[in-house]
Subunit: 278 residues, 2 copies
Amino acid sequence: MIDIKTITVVGLGVIGGSFVKALKDQGYRVFGIDTSLDTLKKAKEEGYIEEGFIDGTKIIPQTDLTIICLYPSLVLDFIKNNSFKKGSIITDATGIKGYFIDQAIDLAGDQAIFISGHPMAGREKKGFEYSSKEVFLNANYILIDHRIEDRSALAFMEKLVGRLGFKSIKIMSPQDHDEVIAFTSQLPHVIAVGLINSDNQKFDTGKYIGDSYRDLTRIANINEELWSELFLNNKENLLNAIEQFETQLDLIKLALESNDSAKLKEYFIESSTRRQKL
Amino acid sequence: MIDIKTITVVGLGVIGGSFVKALKDQGYRVFGIDTSLDTLKKAKEEGYIEEGFIDGTKIIPQTDLTIICLYPSLVLDFIKNNSFKKGSIITDATGIKGYFIDQAIDLAGDQAIFISGHPMAGREKKGFEYSSKEVFLNANYILIDHRIEDRSALAFMEKLVGRLGFKSIKIMSPQDHDEVIAFTSQLPHVIAVGLINSDNQKFDTGKYIGDSYRDLTRIANINEELWSELFLNNKENLLNAIEQFETQLDLIKLALESNDSAKLKEYFIESSTRRQKL
């Protein structure tokens, strides 16, 4: 039976910081690992962690649940370089799953149960100071059901993230996750980057915008290291999503070229209906 | 010399309603015209207009500034069907200019000075109840400098909209307006519609989204009558803007296909820099 008493969050950025903040007063002993001593000091002083560590040597072998909030490429390194408590749970918060989940499970071996997760929440700004438990409030969460024998561990994770403020928690395969995420998260980032980079800068754009341009380009302020990694490791799905989107652009262009007001209205009614349902 | 004492706002929807609300306590006698008696009653009871009318017969000949907040196609009808006070100003709030501005000026004739304007503000929801003076606060405004002999009238309009809360007021030709608007306003609407309509609906999308998809599709809830009119009457500029955007999508696709991490990062750094400047 799963019995979680100690939780260690690895990487106290926006997501990891929000985890320790949301975990406060949930009855766990919470520890933090970060390379920044300042961040660890702050998290401890503010009462979010009992103790901070710059690596996992001391604390990970005593931890029942390890929440790794690092870049995808570093998750595998962290699992490889640490000794986990027998029967403990390891989870992560990365935005793509298929390309690394089997390696992660293999590395965890018979030490720990790896249950991959994806909090669909974040902020444009990086770092602990932008984290808060409100980041998670009413957001969506995805848990990956892949090679998990101990179903009670998965049930525990589902219950836990619900208590941390997430509203919808979906359980799916890594393949389905990566496909849906290519559309709902990666494609919007491609669009935002493409939109702002397509500005020919003939005019002083900022003086001619309303909320629409502001909203559509907000995420064009993008962490290039993280997102190039996310995109390239999910490129088949992302390319499909871009092409589906381009098909719709083509339909709109065709309606414009042929002065087809009826078609345009049809697309707008469809998009309005879909948006209202959301 | 321009001497504005009475202002009549035609069409008390989100924009017209926000005009009468922002005009309160600015020292003018403000009147309203709307086809809805309920709206007129409400605007009068709440103290935003001195009197309401269902057409312009009585009030327009006594009005110093007429602010027409109707769909583009109805602006011309309104000017045609009304008698304006000699030397008064007529302005509008439509999102495109080139295709109708000469007709509007010709119709106004020697009765009134037509100074076209574009408040870059709005709400997703329609109607007087969603109007407020905050809609205009810190938003951008464009005034069109085209066949205006009385420069003091243009100067008055610039000063007035500044007092109504707009932060940046730009004066430009109808051609430049329509070009820049195709990019900053129309293209984002095309993208939002295309994005949400490209959803293959294999998954229950709403459960797998974060703020990015929500933000990028907010304006996909779009008034089909208004926007088909705006798009079709500015189609050359809009098609150019869509094509410029597609060029950027192609660059991103190429970088993905060729696993070119360096290129992706270059695009992301460019987009981030541009967004931070905004």
